[in-house]
């Protein structure tokens, strides 16, 4: 029993040694500063690599538009990161007014899209408030499909037009 235990310990120690050895090798080959990965870049709760994988280059607070799937007001992970970044920024600027503009693509009826745009804006407003922007007067406005940013009639244009713009 004792023998078996110490055997397991030896294996564990060996594994640790191997791991340390690998880490040191990597550290030698790259910048020493990167040895510690910042898993909370810009306070986002994500590493820079993870942010970049979402298409967010640099501080998420520099992005003011979040996008949606067709006929959906569900907030995607990328959008949540951006919205929370604005909430943190606004948390220290209590009283700054925020306008959330909801927009849709041109498919479907104009009036349904007017309501859908509002639902998108309200979803963003709720998350912003929960994430720390509760002291900022927030207004949700819907323009439905009336103010597209891309005028073509294709998937690329439509995905750009299904959006909420965070304005303050």
């Amino acid at each position: 029993m004792n023998y078996k235990m110490s055997g397991a310990l030896v294996v564990a120690m060996l594994l640790t040694l191997t791991a340390c050895g690998k880490k040191e090798t990597v550290a030698v080959e790259t910048e020493p500063a990167q040895a510690v990965v910042d898993s909370n870049a810009f306070g986002s709760g994500y590493s820079v690599t993870d942010l970049e994988a979402m298409g967010i280059m640099g501080d998420p607070v520099n992005y003011r538009t979040v996008f949606f799937a067709y006929d959906s007001s569900e907030i995607a992970e990328r959008s949540r990161v951006i919205i929370e970044a604005h909430s943190r920024a606004l948390g220290s600027q209590s009283g700054v007014e925020v306008t959330l503009e909801g927009h849709c693509d041109e498919r479907g009826t104009r009036e349904y899209n007017l309501a859908l745009g509002e639902r998108r804006a309200q979803g963003v407003a709720r998350l912003m408030s929960a994430a720390g922007a509760g002291n900022n007067p927030t207004q949700s406005v819907s323009y439905g499909e009336e103010r597209p940013v891309a005028l073509e009639h294709n998937d690329g244009a439509w995905s750009q037009n299904r959006r909420v713009e965070i304005l303050y």
Partner: protein
Amino acid sequence: MKSFKFVSLGILVVTSLWGPAQAQINIEITQGVARGIPVAVVPFALSGQIDPVTGIVVSPPHDVSQIVNSDLARSGEFDSIPSDRFLSLPSKPEDVRFKDWRVAKAEALVIGEIRSLGNDTYSIEARGYDVFREKMVVGRRFDEVPGNLLRKVSHQIADYIYEAMTGRPGAFDTQIAYVTVERLGQGLVNNYLRVADSDGYGPRTVFQSSNSIISPSWSPDATRLAYVSFEANRSQIVVQDVNSPERNVVASFKGINGAPAWSPDGNFLAYTSSTSGNADIYVMDMTTRTRQQITKHWAIDTEAAWSPDGQSLVFTSDRSGNPHIYRIDRDGSRLERLTFNGKYNARASYSPNGQSLVMISRPNKQFHVAIMDLATGEQKSLTGGEVSLVESPSFAPNGAMILYAAQKEYNGILAAVSADGRVKQELRFQNGDVKEPAWSPSGPRF
């Protein structure tokens, strides 16, 4: 007659206040019935006041028989017989020889007389005959018609002939409202809410804005339009007199204000509001401005339309997860889901007889104008691949045609399709995107 003169004055005022009339709209039949009713419209005989300068009879500013002829032909339900096949040119009942018209293969014959009374006023007599039965089916006399109402009277004559020959009322003496978008570059646009005669004649601007104008809805007396304007950088509902610049914002509540729909008696306006937190259907009393909430649900409820008897409303709701059509009583009771096919059914409105609904449906990748029989629940697409992104279908007041907006070759166009899908028309505008059409109810007759 008196009320009529008032209307004509209104139109004159609008023309002068709101600048020159826009270029005429061309309506082309892109698909007609295999064989319409062959009709011969004989040019109306002209008599009366002689012009002292030219020495001939003062001619009216509009060609009445020509307007009647094009109305009937444009409906797709008549085949107009060219005048070179006419063996005689009668203008009085005693001159009609039915044999001549059987030879010309006419089933319907229209004849008439115009008498110039001076001072740009005219009297008109028009008659319609069923050639096979050798019987007069229409006989109408219009006295003291001012020149600027000749087109209206001509459309009415076409309405009478249409009804006598098809058994359904005509809808030629009506108007269409629509929105034209002019792109100025650098993202700037001009939006024009316009009204034109049903044959596309005399478009005039009733409101202009750099922001979107959507969802025009006619009052049942065809004198006012309710619409959604974004002029205040948010949605508001405006009611505007069609014949004057007078306009009032009637709904500018917190959230969205959309989808106005006049009740059949003209006393109420159904609309969408999100004052309670999300989009629900409300009804506003247009006299007292009191409001009543009809639907109360966390889902989107919008696009209300009244049943012809004013007792219930249909509307779009995504409470099932996707937009579908529901019906509810005027008092908010007896909710019923009406559509179950596909994942997108929206913006329904009733046919004038209340037996069917027209709506936007998406049975597959494409959006279609679809008609649904309320008795059977059966849905049928009326449009196909010839157009895309169809929107805003509305019935003509006689229920024969459905007017809608679509995209074709990267332009917003207006098109019409008959309720049975057999006749298709395109309304050609000179430039700009066109959207949001609404067919007016039949107004007062001369």
